[in-house]
């Protein structure tokens, strides 16, 4: 309206600082952790274990599979949903891929297509439960978390599957130029692609709109059910991609692989600044979140902290990130 822009609602300096922290604060956390570990490891162990090329690439490698899944999780959470089934889905897709490679002689590319196909099918199934059966995402994916894990155990007879196509393993694991692990390259491509889709395309805009206000988005004539189906399918596609990387890296498919992957993926996403209430998502934040989780694990290993504490720390980080998000929203929102 004319001349009645109420100044109090425009960003005040405090709000701007809060928004800046919410958006980029996580990057400072990453930097502080790197600096702290660089100083701590030589002084505690007499030698620099942390700040070496080999270890940093290891951190990136350990972040890569989670990052690929978490990019999909970012779309799902931005749309106001959640996917608790990604860990089971990764296990199932891995088993299906290994069986296809070992028993049906699909080539290495065929194996990759089976992995992403299985993941996408699982994602579509989640999407159908949510859009057709009108289940809440939490309940639908809690159920499929059990279903996909059960299928993985049934298909594999509960045993890990070994002895498949060597070329599949060589293509999707190991290192490439500058000793960079291949999963890191894939994770980087997925991150750039995810960022482009979320910020530059209609699909990304509607993902944000649905998470912001589903009813308003529907009233604007947008077929929200079709887009939600697409969002869960994308999550499944990326989880399938991660399953291919995991299967190649381990040279085997374990039906219990991917256990608690949902914890890491949700942690990376909310830590990065994507709001669990929907409508706001950041791929850069998610990637940084995945790196921080990997750093926590790596740092705790180097500092000889018992590995059982890792789950405790990751869980605490989710709770802290959501508390920070809620507090920030209370500060910034005018109402």
């Amino acid at each position: 309206m004319s001349e009645n822009a109420t100044p109090s609602l425009l960003p005040s300096p405090t709000n701007r600082v809060l928004e800046f922290i919410a958006r980029y604060g996580i990057i400072f956390v990453l930097v502080i952790m790197v600096v702290a570990l660089s100083i701590l490891t030589p002084s505690l162990r007499g030698e620099q274990y942390f700040l070496t090329k080999r270890n940093l690439l290891q951190v990136a490698l350990q972040a890569s599979i989670n990052s690929v899944i978490a990019v999909g999780m970012t779309f799902i959470i931005t749309s106001g949903g959640i996917d608790l089934s990604v860990g089971s889905m990764a296990g199932f897709a891995g088993v299906v891929t290994a069986i296809a490679l070992r028993d049906y002689g699909v080539g290495y590319l065929g194996g990759f297509l089976v992995a992403v196909g299985a993941g996408t099918a699982c994602g579509l199934f989640n999407g159908l439960l949510i859009t057709r059966a009108n289940l809440r995402p939490f309940i639908a994916t809690l159920g499929t978390m059990g279903i996909f894990r059960g299928l993985a155990l049934v298909a594999s007879d509960g045993r890990p599957i070994y002895g498949f196509n060597r070329r599949f393993i060589d293509t999707f694991s190991g290192e490439t130029f500058f000793d960079i692990p291949k999963p890191v390259i894939v994770a980087a491509l997925v991150a750039v692609g995810g960022w482009l889709i979320l910020t530059q395309t209609r699909f990304g805009k509607y993902t944000i709109a649905i998470g912001g206000n589903e009813e308003t988005t529907g009233l604007a004539g947008i077929p929200i059910q079709r887009y939600k189906l697409g969002i869960y399918a994308l999550g499944g596609f990326l989880t399938g991609t991660a399953a291919a990387l995991l299967t190649a890296r381990l040279s085997s498919a374990d039906p219990i692989a991917g256990n608690l992957f949902e914890l890491d993926a949700i942690a990376a996403t909310v830590m990065g600044g994507t709001s669990l209430t929907g409508g706001e998502g950041t791929i850069l934040g998610t990637v940084v979140g995945a790196l921080i989780i990997s750093l926590v694990r790596n740092g705790m290993n180097i500092l000889n902290v018992q590995s059982f504490w890792q789950q405790f720390v990751i869980g605490s980080v989710i709770i802290l990130a959501v508390m920070l998000d809620q507090w920030r929203k209370k500060q910034v929102r005018p109402q």
Binding site: N4, T201, T216, A220
Partner: protein, 256 residues
């Protein structure tokens, strides 16, 4: 082309009913709306005003009855059908996505893409063009906003309502349905929205249905007033032949 005679009303609503299970929300609504006029739809809470608005904008199909736009029967099965027919609705509290900026809201569901066929395939947004057109369209409507890139959540209630109405005016051709357009606004902002509606009717001959609780607003801007009570259509009044007291009497049931 269907020839539209001078006498054809823009909108004809014929005996529309709507039931949700055992609840009869609308029990036979009939009226004509003449092009270039403002109709107020009034009634107490639960009278059926919003249900009627949702039928006209394609959210719900009517249980029975018909409505016609320019003499043509309308059967909308989804909101997109009503939008395509030129009917724009500004919903109370549901008009805009707070997380998107002004231009993204104005173009919500109507995005333009860049990069030719590939851009269309992947839905690559042409944000510079959409922002430019939004700024131009809103300024033509005398709607002043700081920038088309401002997030809606940072805007005042009046600015939001202006953007929501501006969005409807950018795309609508036939009929504009405004659900409680001033309910959330202060005195100054209310005055500006009412003036905008008056100006659009007088200068551009636009047609409005306005749902309102505020008798002062209704009496000031409406040409005709349709009163609903408990789903029944109790009166159609011409403003010049009625008084605010009479309208209230129909709403409360003091007068049948």
């Amino acid at each position: 082309m269907v020839s539209v005679s001078e006498n054809t009303p823009l909108l004809r609503v014929e005996d529309i009913t709507k039931s949700f299970g055992a609840v009869q929300a609308l029990r036979g609504i009939t009226f004509d709306l003449v092009r270039g006029t403002v109709m107020a739809l009034v009634g107490d809470n639960g009278a059926g005003k919003s249900t009627l608005a949702k039928i006209l904008s394609g959210v719900h199909p009517p249980t029975s009855g018909q409505f016609y736009l320019n003499g043509q029967s309308c059967r909308f099965d989804r909101p997109a059908a009503a939008l395509a027919a030129g009917i724009e609705t500004v919903y109370q509290n549901l008009a805009l996505i707070e997380e998107l900026d002004v231009a993204d809201n104005v173009y919500l569901g109507r995005e333009t893409t860049r990069g030719g066929a590939i851009g269309r395939l992947f839905g690559i947004l042409d944000r510079p063009a959409m922002r430019q057109h939004t700024a131009k369209a809103l300024s033509q409507l005398h709607i002043k906003i700081p920038a088309p890139t401002l997030a809606v959540r940072k805007m005042s209630g009046g600015q939001r309502q202006a953007v929501a109405i501006g969005r409807a005016l950018t795309w609508g051709r036939e009929l504009f349905i405004l659900d409680e357009p001033t309910a959330a606004l202060g005195v100054d902002e209310t005055e500006q929205v009412l003036r905008m509606i008056e100006r659009l009717r007088e200068e551009h001959g636009l047609t409005f249905i306005i749902i309102s609780h505020n008798m002062q607003d209704v009496y000031r801007i409406a040409d005709t007033i349709v009163v609903l009570r408990q789903g029944r259509h109790v009166a159609t009044l011409a403003k010049n032949d009625t008084t605010p007291e009479e309208i209230v009497a129909y709403i409360t049931g003091a007068k049948e």
